[in-house]
């Protein structure tokens, strides 16, 4: 089976064009545009990671900032304190995030914490981490944790380099997550996830181990999200618990998938490409108008959330794919 069954010729052409465009973008775009695209790709990536839990397995996590933050702090601490580069450090970063995810998952699933309560449990853990990291002076506490920056450094082995390097790393993350999601969704595990999402009782009756299926979803999602955190740490070179672990960050992570289409493969990517540029354009216009309105971008994101959930609850992508006839079957992948 080719990995792209169900995509029409027209869809193929668009996919190839989009891939080509992203591959050559740094050669034609200026620095600003590259940085915006990098942000878009980052949100596309973490959106995909979140989608594994909510979209594929029906587990609503509103605390994904926890995994971003753990990934970021673990890799940054290894680099600053022990000189361990991010390519090695990301293994431990992912491991720590998976352990945290599994603790939350274990507590949640074993004790039957469902729905609202599960979402609140994820928020509670993220908040505990936020307040906790404020007090860990080994990684800077609330004053922030900074990675050493050398101007003009080019050391890809330690993920030090130009914005273009980061652009391609982010692009690789998105492509990797897309392929992984595709493979997972068409595996035995993926079918189990969908069954658990749609009808947990029926899934269990037909022999699916609910606990294991859900735990693997949490593990995969938290590991992927932690990688996004590693990227964030080395891209921005500074970490503040108030930002990294904040509830606002958790909401930003879920936005792309909701706007693009929960449970679809392309949804989170499309959602990020819709939201981030619009947000940037809005900020740009406001600044061009000589106004300083902090919060307007977030207000726009909130409005986008409401509009999408009221008018296109299944997201933009399923609707767009039907409209433009990009896939043969409605509900691509999910």
């Amino acid at each position: 089976m080719s990995g792209l069954s169900g995509v029409t010729g027209r869809g193929m052409v668009l996919l190839v064009l989009a891939a080509l465009g992203l591959a050559v973008a740094p050669f034609v775009a200026d620095r600003y545009l590259v940085s915006v695209l990098t942000t878009v790709l980052w949100f596309a990536y973490v959106g995909q990671a979140w989608n594994v839990m909510m979209g594929f397995s029906g587990l609503l996590s509103l605390g994904h900032a926890l995994y971003v933050g753990l990934g970021a702090y673990v890799s940054a601490a290894l680099f600053v304190h022990f000189g361990v580069g991010p390519w090695a450090g990301m293994v431990l970063a992912m491991l720590v995030a998976v352990v945290a995810g599994c603790i939350i998952g274990f507590l949640g699933f074993r004790f039957g914490v469902k729905g609202v309560h599960f979402a609140l449990l994820t928020i509670a853990f993220a908040e505990v981490a936020r307040i906790g990291f404020d007090h860990i002076t080994w990684v800077g506490g609330s004053g922030g944790f900074f990675l050493p920056v050398e101007a003009g450094a080019s050391d890809p082995l330690n993920l030090r380099g130009s914005p273009v390097l980061f652009y391609y790393v982010a692009l690789a993350l998105v492509v990797g997550a897309l392929l992984l999601s595709r493979v997972l969704l068409h595996s035995r595990l993926g079918y189990q996830w969908l069954a658990v999402r749609e009808e947990p009782d029926a899934a269990e009756a037909s022999g699916v181990d609910l606990f294991r299926a859900r735990m693997t979803a949490v593990a995969v999602s938290s590991a992927l999200t932690a990688l996004g955190g590693v990227f964030q740490a080395f891209y921005f070179n500074n970490l503040f618990p108030e930002q990294v672990f904040s509830m606002g960050r958790s909401i930003e992570i879920i936005l792309p998938a909701i706007v693009g289409g929960i449970g679809t493969l392309v949804g989170p990517i499309l959602g990020a490409f819709i939201l981030t540029p619009l947000g940037e354009a809005l900020t740009f216009l406001i600044e061009a108008g000589g106004l300083d309105l902090p919060g307007l971008k977030q207000l726009f994101y909130g409005a986008a959330l409401v509009v999408i959930v009221v008018f296109r609850p299944e997201g933009v992508w399923p609707w767009l794919a039907r409209r433009l006839r990009l896939v043969r079957q409605p509900g691509e992948g999910a």
Binding site: L107, L120, I131, P294, L296, G302, V309, P313
Partner: protein, 289 residues
Amino acid sequence: MPIDYYLNIAASGLLTGLVYGLAALGLSVIFGVVRVVNFAHGEMMVAGMYGAVLLGGWLGLDPLLSAPIMAALLFVCGWLLQRGLVNKFVERPEHMQFILLLGVATILVNAMLMLFGPDARNVQVPYSFDTVEIGPMLLDAVRLRAGAAAIVVAAALFAFFRFSRTGKAIRACADNPLGARVVGLNIDGLYALTFGIGAAVVGVAGALMTLLVDARPQLAPEYTLLSFIIVIVGGLGSLPGALLGGVLIGMSEALAGFLLTPSLKSLFSYGVLIVVLLLRPQGLLGKRS
């Protein structure tokens, strides 16, 4: 005498906790009846705070007098929100309701940030530095008044649900929506009324809160989470539970802030939440579903 210290801290924690409990009551009422989790609860509370701040600034109104005005304003807002938006989502999957109200919350908090800026604002009251001596305890006059007002509003709410016809109809709705519809109750109208009442209650809690805390937009998500914690600790849908949970959280925060460092006090509340979720997910006074 160190025991006096603890008594004092516990008592002021209790009084603050009563206001927390009142805010959580609003959340509990909405969840208990409409079965929708109001993710914009803290945002409504901070709106109540800003209302009291503005009324205090313009008219020199005491927050205790601003409270009924904010109740009326937020009742209308809550009623409209339920009628216009949330009612369409009552039958939709839970995560959709969450996301909708998360969106509303994001809009509200950032609108307040744009309108009022990030700086803290407060209301001046003549008795802000007064203290009242009760036995061995020395309590702030503001805290006493806020706590007493919270009790009065909570008692009125209990009486409304217990004795009035409308209150009984709302309870019928909560117990069995289908049955309530069968006997001819206007479910959609009662839902809107309930959402309005929940919003009004949290508006009052916000106005009272300005006696204790300066208004900042950043408080909103904190209060949303705090209300959730309280409601879950007390038991989702249980009104006395919400009040009890508020008092518990208020006292534990005050003691934790005193014994540890103040910045760690909310960590304590999350700890309580996690323990309760695991050991008694239906909450202290909640019924097992």
